[in-house]
């Protein structure tokens, strides 16, 4: 998703990790984690794509696999073993488990391994942070994103709705678009006026929210956490 729609976010991820003292590369043969098909019920198709990425990641000698998207990280760590099990490949399921052990979501990694000092941020910047569901409820990453954002000098909005689903949900946003948009609206309407931007760690949620904000003519920048940390 980042590659297609937002290479700038990918570049920010690379710079943020480098600033923290790490070498970064993208394995050539990694494609997609397969989540869109998996969530739509197409396990065979999901496994076919996931296998390609899994083999590329398994062959890579990196210490850690940093995934700058909570739902992709959850797909790999939580659902790959099950995906290969239900499609009848126990060996791949075991490989998936060991690959998953090396996977960390970006903010989870930075919260543990942040080395570089915070960049200077504008005094009046206030971030409304959107917790994506898979990060929050599958990976149980609750405090890391806000911790790294506030360490970088940003104020965080008091936005309880930040923990509620934005309504994206993969093909859900296509199949029930009216509900999907209504869910986005409820979140958007609850964003405090003091917020100067909306941030999150899942590009798919962010594009959905950004697209709804734009449709309603609300001028609120939407950024990936990596972009905040890269300023």
């Amino acid at each position: 998703m980042i590659e297609t729609l937002a290479p700038n976010v990918g570049a920010s991820v690379v710079r943020v990790l480098r600033n923290a003292g790490y070498d970064v590369h993208i394995p050539d043969d990694v494609t997609c984690c397969g989540q869109p098909a998996w969530n739509a019920g197409f396990a065979t198709e999901a496994a076919k794509v996931a296998r390609t990425s899994m083999e590329a990641l398994a062959a890579d000698d990196a210490e850690t696999i940093v995934v700058p998207a909570g739902s992709c990280a959850a797909m790999i760590r939580v659902y790959w073993p099950e995906l290969f099990r239900v499609t009848g490949d126990e060996d791949a399921s075991l490989t998936a488990t060991s690959v998953g052990e090396k996977v960390m979501e970006l903010t989870e990694f930075l919260a543990e391994h942040s080395g570089a000092g915070p960049a200077e941020s504008p005094d009046d910047a206030e971030v409304a942070y959107h917790h994506s569901c898979h990060m929050l409820r599958e990976l149980h990453i609750e405090s890391a994103p806000e911790a790294v954002i506030s360490e970088a000098g940003y104020a965080l909005s008091d936005w309880p709705m930040g923990r509620q689903c934005c309504g994206f949900g993969g093909t859900f946003s296509l199949k029930l678009p009216e509900v999907s948009v209504a869910m986005a609206d409820e979140k958007i309407d609850a964003i405090p006026e003091s917020a100067t931007c909306l941030a999150g760690s899942d590009l798919s949620c962010l594009i959905h929210l950004e697209a709804r904000l734009a449709h309603r003519g609300i001028d609120l920048p939407v950024v990936h956490t990596a972009e905040l940390l890269d300023q």
Partner: protein, 457 residues
């Protein structure tokens, strides 16, 4: 089914009054639940409850046998119904054998599931729901929209309008006045009823006891005033021991309404004994399967652990927008989206599994830790495998898998999607996605991998 799921949700979304009522009610339930879960060891209790329910369901035939023996030992008559039609026939048979003219009922989702009221009415029996919420929707000719609050989709103004259709004097939209009207109307029915019909929150096998969890006192009236009491019980609604019941009762009211205990917890152990002054002369317990035993031994067995608290409905961000009626099922929300297709005829209602973003809020709220999002995913796989999705969707995923399982093809499609435009190519963004959303500008149009390789980042 009158319309497809999408148009049903759109209808619900077009009703601002409905949406407000649902939001207010589910917020209230959730706030109370959060306050009620003042248990330091809640997570521990959830784990224990999951294990306990799983052990019971795994041993269901034996425990049901123990229950039936114990219940008959204290004078109840136990009936077994394989499906809804059998259950309706049994209850209607009991009623007609006693020449029943008026039946009063306490709230029971199972009797909604088997459409018992309609069967009794066809047999010429007047049926009166006595739970306030159920009575309201009975008068309105509607179905429940929530398993705990069947009429939570209605405002007090709606209720006043419904009541005013049968009140001699006009009633204001004031909860106290409306309740007083309901109380006076229902009291006559309790006293005149020939039979009382209830559901069953839990049956305790070791003593043959039926437990009812209620808040309005109507349950007590239904179980004690009429000469005949019929319990309609789902076959999974059982615990073996009172210790197990204790664990479940710690979780059920708290998860449902945030109460430490509901106002009434009624225990029914057999009919009136000699020397007792009240209670029914006859107690019938109808144990209903209606598709439940099909789940035993399958990946969906855990759904039988459900204790019907409604917490998953209250926290579901999809239910919150559309309410229960859009599901077109007695059971709505996440538990309904799972249970409905499982209990229904094979291959029907599977589209309900799509009424979720798989956000997982339901699992977090579930007091018996049913992995609802995983079960929804399993149902989506069954739906895909049995030809549910349109041909175009199936072909689309096949093509997608063919392309993206090959790194070279993957890179080509990514480049094609990016090329030549600052905005997302409209053709890549399906129409459904563009309705209500304005696709934003892409954030950069360069090849990320190449830039990284070339040292440009």
């Amino acid at each position: 089914m009158t319309a497809n799921l999408r148009s049903r949700t759109a209808t619900a979304l077009g009703n601002p009054g409905l949406r407000k009522a649902i939001r207010d009610a589910t917020d209230r339930f959730t706030t109370h639940r959060e306050e009620g879960l003042d248990l330091a060891n809640f997570e521990e209790l959830r784990r224990a409850a999951r294990a306990t329910r799983a052990a019971i369901i795994a041993d269901l035939p034996r425990i049901l046998g123990t229950f039936a023996d114990a219940a008959e030992g204290v004078g109840a008559e136990v009936h077994w119904a394989g499906d809804a039609a059998e259950a309706r026939a049994i209850v209607t048979g009991i009623a007609t054998a006693h020449g029943v003219e008026l039946a009063v009922k306490a709230k029971s989702m199972l009797t909604e599931e088997i459409e018992l009221n309609e069967a009794l009415e066809t047999a010429g029996i007047e049926v009166v729901e006595t739970d306030l919420g159920e009575w309201i929707i009975q008068l309105a000719g509607q179905k429940p929209s929530h398993i705990i609050g069947p009429s939570l989709h209605l405002s007090k103004e709606d209720v006043a309008e419904i009541f005013n259709r049968r009140s001699d004097r006009p009633l204001p939209a004031d909860p106290e006045a409306l309740c007083a009207f309901a109380r006076a109307s229902l009291r006559e029915k309790f006293l005149a009823a020939d039979i009382g019909i209830t559901g069953c929150n839990f049956a305790v096998a070791e003593t043959g006891t039926v437990i009812l969890v209620t808040n309005e006192g109507n349950g007590r009236m239904v179980t004690s005033l009429p000469p005949v009491h019929v319990v309609v019980m789902g076959m999974e609604r059982i615990v073996e021991t009172w210790d197990q019941l204790d664990l479940m009762m710690n979780l059920l009211p708290r998860s449902a309404t945030g109460q430490k205990l509901s106002v009434y917890t009624t225990q029914v152990t057999g009919p009136r004994r000699s020397g007792e002054t009240d209670g029914p002369e006859e107690l019938h317990i109808v144990i209903v399967d209606n598709g439940r035993s099909n789940l035993l031994g399958t990946e969906f067995q855990e759904m039988l652990n459900c204790i019907r608290c409604g917490a998953c409905l209250n926290v579901c961000p999809v239910y919150r927008q559309i309410g229960g009626h859009a599901y077109e099922s007695v059971y709505s929300g996440p538990m309904g989206a799972v249970l409905t297709p499982l209990l229904a005829a094979t291959g029907t209602s599977l589209d309900l599994a799509g009424a979720s973003t798989l956000c997982g809020a339901c699992y977090d709220a579930c007091p018996v830790q049913i992995p609802l999002q995983d079960l929804l995913l399993s149902l989506r796989r069954i739906n895909a495998d049995t030809g549910g999705p349109a041909w175009s969707e199936r072909a689309g995923w096949k093509n997608w898998a063919r392309a993206w399982s090959r790194p070279g093809m993957y890179r080509k499609t990514v480049t094609a999607a990016r090329r030549g435009s600052g905005a997302l190519p409209a053709g890549l963004v399906p129409k459904g996605w563009r309705s209500g959303r304005t696709v934003p500008e892409a954030r950069g149009t360069y090849d990320l991998r190449k830039a990284l390789r070339d040292g440009k980042i």
